[in-house]
């Protein structure tokens, strides 16, 4: 199994969810995150005081998949997340030893 993690622009979340659904993904986890990449942050002005806001809002999407599906799924996420502008985010995968469905105790791919 693989854990696919995507840190992307928040407004792409709905698109990505739909694309994953169409691909056949049954569940995912979304967290609000903040960070920066090459685009760095932006500047905000409050009563003349300029603040450099380094960390910009992102969402972090996590999906568990079987090994064979990993590359296709990454492709689906990347396609649906892309706006072509700087700050689109990153997607990566890591191997996962095991997964358990809490309700039934099923293990491995059966738990997905």
């Amino acid at each position: 199994m693989k854990l696919i993690t995507a840190v992307v622009k928040p407004h792409r979340l709905d698109e990505i969810k739909e694309a994953l659904q169409a691909f056949g993904v049954h569940g995912l986890t979304v967290t609000e995150a903040s960070g920066y990449g090459r685009q760095r942050g932006h500047t905000e002005v409050y009563r003349g005081a300029e603040y450099t806001i380094d960390l910009v809002p992102k969402v972090r999407i996590e999906v568990l998949v079987e090994d064979d599906d990993a590359d296709d799924l990454i492709e689906v996420v990347v396609k649906s997340a892309r706006t072509g502008k700087i700050g689109d985010g990153k997607v990566w995968s890591v191997p996962v030893d095991t997964a358990v469905r809490v309700r039934t105790g099923e293990r491995g791919p059966d738990a997905l």
Partner: protein, 430 residues
């Protein structure tokens, strides 16, 4: 008793009351989320404390007969002694019940200490703050309001024009804010951390409530439903609108954007500046006062970074500077042949004596509290947020994922799973 005047003053008093919660929102939105409730409470508590003090001795010290020299009222009306629904304030055809007048003036005594709280955001012990405003209204606000508004008050006799509170309210609160901010010191991370306003819509709501309530504050100060009140109401609207434009124009040129916070702040600066002056000028005077206040105050809020004092929400830049501007400009712009250098001199006397008296006494009060029970929150409390430390609450529940929907289909798939497992669950339950 004049029924129309009485009705007008009672309604105006209710409008002024709304300014204190309005101010609480205006300030509350500007602080970081961890001390938002504390900021609201620092204003709101004044509604309780000052209402009580007003009846006990505040009204008597402010509007009781002068004890001599125009410095303070006597104690004849302590505990509202001798005041009943038949007692009248003012001369016969225009007179209103003393209770209506006292109700109206109470609201001024409530909002003035609340204004100070903006200078000391995020770092004052709540109990110490409550003690501070108790002492402050007693030895600063009540005397100063007596000087300016009681017919025997020494500044009133010097013919200082302060229609609705440029000196007694705004210069007074602004100077006190500076003094307490200096005693307290800077917030941890001042000039280093981005201390962004956590909720600008709340700031806008607050400035809207202030603007609305201010018609009671300014026009109501005529204490009569007449042309003076109408002129004041109209000039309040005009100067406030123009001040907002002035602040936004300065900001756009200097910093490149029309900010929401700038619009809200500009409006408040205009309201402050027109307060002492609005009844004595015409529309052109109001436009000049509004424009000058908007531009100068938007510049003045940057002084704290240059001079290094942490007037957190710009009580000095908006209320002290705006109050001085309005108080001085009316000296020049007053109509009916009053305006001129002679009147400007009187206005300067009023502005600067109130400034110095308030600054010195406020500094002593704050220092006295600091060395006895302690004024400043501990470092842990300040860093963790005063909401948790003093109020055992949090302003917002952040537990839900904000910004994105949990899609219908995601929910549906969860339901499918629980649907499959449901019979088993029932067995377990049975």
């Amino acid at each position: 008793m004049n029924g129309a005047n009485t009705a007008f003053v009672l309604i105006s008093a209710a409008l002024v009351m709304l300014m204190t919660p309005g101010l609480a929102f205006f300030y509350g939105g500007m602080v970081r989320v961890k001390s938002a409730l504390n900021m609201l409470m620092m204003s709101f508590i004044a509604l309780g404390v000052v209402s009580l003090l007003w009846v006990l001795f505040g009204y008597s010290l402010t509007f009781g007969d002068d004890i001599g020299g125009g410095l303070l009222g006597n104690l004849d009306h302590i505990g509202f002694k001798g005041i009943n629904p038949e007692s009248l304030w003012g001369t016969k055809p225009d007179a209103i019940p003393v209770l209506a007048f006292a109700f109206f003036q109470l609201m001024f005594a409530v909002i003035t200490p609340a204004l100070i709280s903006g200078a000391v955001a995020d770092r004052v012990k709540f109990g110490a703050w409550t003690l501070f405003i108790t002492l402050w209204v007693t030895v600063v606000y009540f005397p100063v309001a007596h000087w300016v508004w009681q017919a025997d008050g020494w500044l009133f006799k010097k013919e200082v024009i302060d229609f609705a509170g440029g000196t007694a309210v705004h210069i007074n609160a602004g100077a006190a804010g500076l003094a307490v901010a200096l005693v307290l010191g800077k917030r941890i991370g001042f000039k280093k951390d981005p201390m962004r306003p956590h909720n600008l819509p709340l700031v806008m709501l607050g400035s809207g409530l202030l603007w609305f309530g201010w018609f009671g504050f300014n026009a109501g100060s005529a204490l009569a439903a007449n042309g003076t009140a109408a002129n004041m109401a109209f000039n309040t609207q005009l100067a406030t609108g123009v001040a907002m434009l002035g602040w936004l124009a300065y900001e756009r040129i200097r910093h490149g954007a029309f900010t929401t916070l700038g619009a809200a702040s500009g409006a408040v600066a205009g309201l402050v500046a027109i307060t002492p002056s609005g009844a004595a000028v015409n529309a052109w005077g109001a436009i000049i006062i509004g424009l000058v206040a908007g531009v100068v105050c938007s510049w003045a809020v940057s002084l704290k970074y240059k001079l290094g004092y942490d007037d957190s929400l710009d009580v000095v830049g908006v209320h002290l500077v705006g109050g001085i501007l309005g108080t001085l400009l009316v000296g020049l712009l007053a109509t009916d042949g009053v305006g001129g250098l002679d009147q400007l001199g009187k206005q300067a006397l009023g502005a600067f004596t109130v400034l110095i008296y308030s600054f010195v006494v406020s500094w002593i009060l704050a220092k006295a509290i600091d060395v006895t029970i302690g004024l400043r929150a501990t470092e842990d409390e300040e860093v963790g947020g005063l909401d948790q430390a003093y109020h055992a609450e949090t302003a917002y529940d952040f537990s839900a994922v904000g910004g994105a929907h949990v899609g219908r289909s995601t929910v549906a798939s969860i339901q499918d799973e629980t649907g499959a497992g449901a019979p088993q669950n029932k067995k377990v339950d049975a």
